[in-house]
């Protein structure tokens, strides 16, 4: 897709050009793998195992869209996000940004790309240095990328503060003088400073109260419209992800198990895990809550150090059969689905099928751990 003639995919390390910026997906991840080694030993560190955090993920992020990444603790969504922004090097696989391969770039080579991709973090308390003034925190990207003289920065920073709904007069305050929601606005202002094209937001509203959460979601939406931003939005909260996302990728144990348009995914979830996840989401409506059939999964998420063979969901899947233990299902469009709806499952859930009544056909002992 991105290897069209104008993208200049072969020219590794060149700053993005106007041409490449105009066509193709903004980010393309191919067969991304990220392992974290577990080392043991005091003098001689030997690798005792690996955490398979991300394993064989391929996806694209289109310009101007919001791609939601959902999944539960340990599914690799944050690791994938950090790989996309080059905070973690990939173990293997390819990462294309604006059509150019940036997988193997060194720190200095990646800099011109860095300014075009920014992150917003979950914890508005942990992500701001408490001993520095807000003006200097938001101005950091200018300093790091050597943009503008010191005295030129203040008006720029104040403009940013105004943009995200902070009072520019509070330039000299410390983070402790702001509430949680306002700190998150500071994080947003800092991410916007260099006019990036991609913002990766890792659980940006999870630490906030509901009423404040809505303020930040609206702010992100406004900024996206105003600056044509592309978001990768990570959250464990399905209602939030559904609200902001154009497309949603559901992750389980380091793999994308389903990828589809937001409404398509909610309307016709095909992967049993997606079904379970959607049925477990809390709804603030007593009648809906009472009417809903929850698919209660048995057991816990297996360890990513030794993930199950075949389909990684098979030990907990109500539909699992022999083939699920042996073969990993590819992430492809299944029969009856539009091309944009991809599912990694041998036995995708048919619309209307009641998973609460299905029992697995393979006995527990045969399910490989």
């Amino acid at each position: 897709m991105s290897t069209d003639s104008t993208s200049g995919g072969a020219e590794v390390g060149q700053p993005p050009t106007a041409e490449s910026a105009a066509t193709g997906p903004l980010v393309e991840v191919r067969e991304a793998v990220k392992y974290f080694p577990i080392r043991q030993g005091i003098v001689f560190k030997r690798e005792a195992g690996r955490v398979h955090a991300v394993e064989g993920v391929s996806l694209t992020v289109r310009r101007g869209e919001t791609l939601g990444l959902v999944g539960e603790t340990g599914c690799g969504k944050s690791t994938l996000a950090r790989c996309i922004t080059k905070l973690h090097p990939l173990t293997s696989g390819t990462l294309l940004f604006e059509g150019q391969d940036i997988t193997g770039l060194s720190r200095s080579q990646v800099r011109p790309f860095r300014r075009r991709m920014q992150m917003i973090f979950q914890d508005p308390y942990g992500s701001l240095n408490p001993r520095r003034r807000v003006g200097s925190i938001i101005g950091d990207p200018f300093a790091i990328h050597g943009e503008g003289a010191r005295d030129e920065r203040k008006p720029k920073v104040q403009e940013l503060m105004e943009l995200v709904g902070l009072n520019p007069e509070h330039y000299n305050r410390f983070p402790a003088e702001f509430s949680g929601g306002q700190r998150q606005r500071i994080g947003v202002a800092r991410a916007l400073a260099l006019k990036p094209s991609l913002i990766v937001a890792d659980e940006p509203v999870s630490a906030l109260d509901v009423s404040i959460q809505a303020q930040i979601l609206n702010l992100l939406e406004d900024l996206q419209r105003e600056f044509g931003l592309t978001y990768v939005f990570i959250s464990h909260d399905l209602s939030v992800v559904r609200h902001v996302s154009d497309r949603i990728a559901v992750m389980y144990l380091g793999q994308v198990v389903e990828l589809a348009g937001s409404e398509e995914l909610h309307g016709r979830p095909r992967h049993p895990y997606t079904n379970a996840l959607l049925s477990a989401a809390s709804v603030a409506d007593p009648d809906q809550a009472a009417a809903r059939q929850r698919i209660v999964l048995t057991g816990d998420v297996p360890s990513p150090i030794a993930p199950p063979t075949g389909c990684r969901f098979h030990p907990r899947c109500p539909k699992a059969q022999e083939i699920c233990v042996e073969q990993t299902p590819p992430l492809v469009a299944r029969a009856g689905d539009p091309d944009s709806h991809l599912t990694a499952c041998h036995f995708p859930v048919a619309p209307g099928e009641d998973l609460t009544r299905v029992t697995a056909t393979i006995p527990e002992e045969e399910r490989a751990e």
Binding site: N167, H236, S239
Partner: protein, 361 residues
């Protein structure tokens, strides 16, 4: 007589910046076998309220009464309290990792808990602990009982805490954000478990949460708290479908709902107030789009609205304005405008300056 009757509870903490008025006159009652949901944002006083019932707010100044089976918990001695806490009133907290001692085996902690209250020997207590772990759905409880907390997953730890809370067959269980630290699918498991155990044991349950979604399928009654006071109290359907207080409606509209994906959210403007320097009158008035002159002067009490005997709201708006239909919104706008001598723009009085000052606390 209800199992628990809390009346006019006040809790404040002295700090160097001034008195933090965490709870300012909260009353509620709860019958055996019923579930009360307490909803509020950070600093609404929902946790302090119930921690006071458990005698866990040391150093706080407490006023009011909390009668449990007719006995005032707030005036008993520490020794007497100890006999009640754990045995008759149990608690489940948000973070299962910090509620379990990391250096002791899970089973040992349950056994100690049983033996602290009942004269049984270790073997009997241990058998009961195994049964309890099985009851809350921990696989192979006879083996897992000798695991340390770190060997349990988050969901299993919360199950272990539930087992511990149920060990002495309490009359009342207080669950303070029991699923907030858990993933969605695990949260669903734990909520189902709590509901099932409650139905089997007939215990009363207080569920504290910031998430209106968590208790939508669980609570018989819901109390919404704001700045240390009850803003609204109603049965479940009344609260979700016919809310009266603008804060409750604001909370409901702040939640991204499945029905209106992509539609713009309507957040409540501004920030929650400082509990040291509270706004005059109704504490919500600086953030309320319908605020009238009266709201800035007089604090509204929780009074019944025109919906049912159990539905009460602390708001000066007419009691017939219920729910968030367009018609009701307009009626509220009109009522608010009629009671106002100076035109105000909602959110302005809590503009950034005020909010930042408050955030400084």
């Amino acid at each position: 007589m209800s199992l628990l009757e809390v009346s006019d509870l006040h809790v404040s903490f002295r700090t160097t910046d001034g008195d933090v008025q965490a709870v300012r006159g909260v009353s509620f009652e709860l019958d055996a076998g019923r579930t009360l949901g307490i909803v509020g944002e950070s600093g609404s006083g929902k946790s302090v309220c119930t921690q006071t019932l458990l005698g866990l707010t040391t150093g706080a100044r407490v006023r009011g009464t909390a009668r449990f089976e007719g006995e005032d918990l707030l005036s008993v001695s520490e020794d007497e309290f100890r006999a009640v806490r754990g045995a008759k009133i149990a608690a489940i907290f948000q973070d299962p990792l910090s509620s379990l001692h990391p250096l002791y085996k899970v089973g040992w902690q349950i056994v100690e808990m049983i033996r602290a209250h009942e004269p049984v020997n270790r073997a009997v207590a241990r058998r009961r602990a195994v049964d309890l772990l099985g009851l809350v759905g921990i696989p192979h409880p006879a083996q897992r009982i000798d695991d340390y907390p770190h060997q349990f997953s988050g969901g299993m730890r919360q199950r272990a805490l539930i087992a511990m809370a149920l060990a002495l067959d309490p009359k009342l269980v207080i669950a303070d954000e029991p699923t907030t630290a858990l993933d969605a699918t695990v949260q669903a498991q734990i909520l189902d478990l709590l509901l099932r155990l409650q139905q089997e044991n007939g215990m009363a349950l207080i569920m504290i949460t910031h998430d209106l979604g968590v208790i939508a399928g669980l609570a018989d009654e819901v109390m919404v708290m704001y700045a240390g006071r009850a803003a609204e109290r109603a049965d479940r359907r009344g609260l979700y479908y016919r809310a009266h207080h603008p804060y409750t409606n604001g909370l409901l509209e702040s939640i991204p709902s499945s029905g209106a994906a992509g539609a713009r959210l309507r957040p409540i403007p501004g920030q929650p107030p400082s509990l040291i320097r509270l706004p005059s009158g109704c504490a919500f008035h600086p953030r309320c789009e319908f605020a009238m002159d009266r709201c800035t002067r007089e604090q509204p009490e929780l009074v019944p609205v025109e919906d049912g005997v159990r539905h009460a709201s602390a708001c000066w708006l007419p009691g017939r304005l219920l729910g968030t239909t367009e018609e009701m919104k307009r009626a509220r706008q009109d009522a608010g405008a009629a009671g106002r001598t100076v035109e105000r723009v909602p959110g302005q009085s809590t503009g950034q300056d005020a909010a930042v000052e408050e955030g400084a606390a």
